[in-house]
């Protein structure tokens, strides 16, 4: 339901929403079938349009009177221009309910409105309350208008209920979809932040790992590190695990895998920050640490890396024939 105009900054990509929520023709029909909403409902609703035009203004007036009684909803309508605009949009929607053609265009419009409400931070409870207010207002008027034919009033009311439930379902799904998208984006951001592969100088990368490592993170760390080795043409990588709270056999075995994979690519991995206690525990439970090149702390690790890289640059003085090939 329109309660606030669409601010310019809110660019709702409805096509993306439709696709993201898999709302194709099949799904729309499926939702209608589930509500048992068919042609007869559409016909009954269309019949009401003329009547709805008669009472639309007063229903909307009383709805906003209700909204303005609550602080939480009041804050959305402080500007009288906004209030006027929103009332007008609300009226359009109210009349749209009895205009038929509840097709994908209609669905798209509902998603857009759901997305706007989610974006301005309107809780679902206000949304549902407003719909309930609506239904009561319309029911009273319907039964009054069809006083002699209550079964006709009931049938029309049921048709309206089905449509409104479909709209509510779409709006809530939009809320959920948007929230899930946000969570997913945040998770990706956290994942990226938690594996900063830093280039210290030419051919030297540093990877300080902070926080617990589970199987999934271990895998991502290795993938990112190996790709960074190739992309940045690293010769030595210092992996500092001071910030990893527990190093168990699984984490250790993973480190061994990463060391092996780096070596296969022609790079050397140095592990720093492995405490003596942890090293002892690992050896006791049978993890083979002989393959891992460890240095006490990050500083020592970088010095060792420089030594390896320096050795590489100066070459071996033991064999003078090598000197001729140096730049």
């Amino acid at each position: 339901m329109e309660k606030q105009s669409l601010p310019k900054s809110l660019n709702i990509d409805t096509l993306n929403l439709m696709n993201g929520m898999s709302l194709d023709e099949n799904e729309i029909q499926h939702r209608k079938d589930w509500l048992q909403f068919d042609q007869s409902d559409e016909a009954r609703l269309t019949e009401l349009n003329e009547m709805a035009q008669g009472y639309a203004d007063e229903v909307i007036e009383s709805l906003y009177e209700h909204f303005l009684k609550f602080e939480d909803t009041q804050r959305f309508f402080e500007d009288p221009n906004i209030l006027k605009r929103v009332k007008n949009l609300q009226k359009q929607y109210f009349l749209r309910l009895t205009k038929g053609n509840y097709d994908s265009k209609y669905i798209e419009e509902r998603l857009k409105i759901g997305a706007v409400h989610a974006s301005i931070g309107l809780d679902v409870k206000w949304y549902l309350g407003a719909y309930n207010f609506y239904m009561r207002a319309v029911a009273t008027r319907l039964f009054k208008a069809f006083e002699s034919k209550p079964e006709k009033a009931l049938a029309a009311f049921f048709s309206l209920t089905k449509l409104v439930y479909m709209d509510i379902g779409l709006a809530i799904d939009t809320y959920i979809y948007q929230r899930e998208s946000t969570i997913q984006r945040q998770q990706e951001a956290i994942r990226e932040l938690s594996t900063p592969v830093l280039q210290l100088r030419k051919e030297l990368l540093i990877l300080p790992i902070i926080g617990a490592i589970d199987a999934q993170r271990a895998r991502q760390l290795t993938e990112q590190l190996l790709h960074a080795i190739r992309d940045k043409r690293a010769k030595v990588v210092v992996v500092d695990i001071t910030g990893v709270p527990t190093v168990d056999s699984r984490v250790a075995n993973h480190l061994v895998q990463t060391v092996d994979a780096s070596r296969l690519m022609g790079a050397t991995l140095i592990i720093t920050g492995l405490s003596a206690e942890v090293a002892q525990t690992l050896v006791t439970i049978g993890v083979d640490l002989t393959k891992i090149h460890t240095v006490g702390d990050l500083q020592g690790g970088i010095e060792e890396a420089d030594r390896i890289l320096g050795y590489q640059l100066i070459d071996s003085p033991a064999d003078p024939s090598h000197l001729s090939s140096q730049e």
Partner: protein
Amino acid sequence: MVDDQVSIPILTDSDIVSARQQARELAKRFSFSSSELAGIAAAISELARNIVSYATQGTVNVSLIEEANKKGILVIVEDQGPGISDIPLAMQDGYSTSNSLGLGLPGVKRLMDSFEIQSEIGKGTTVIVKKWVLR
């Protein structure tokens, strides 16, 4: 709609290449990372190789699957070979890689998310593995 499954008969060493290439192409349609795709290809290569080395003929079936909010790949490798007499031994690390013929089964298990093996002496062996897309 492209078929979401392939079945590759394995008779010779060139079929091993074909099996891993077709499996990789199929798996690309789900959002596996590039290293997971390489892992899937390597696992299938190992399994197909066991057919060529031990059973002389068999089939690699690869299909895309969806299950309760997750997507993945299902690989069924079956042969009518001699069967494996000691499965626990075949699943031991080291048994596979140091042995010159190689079974590679524990490695395959590490590369995939689930691993099942059935074998009957004189009838053949079936290995069923799955790999799910993260998230």
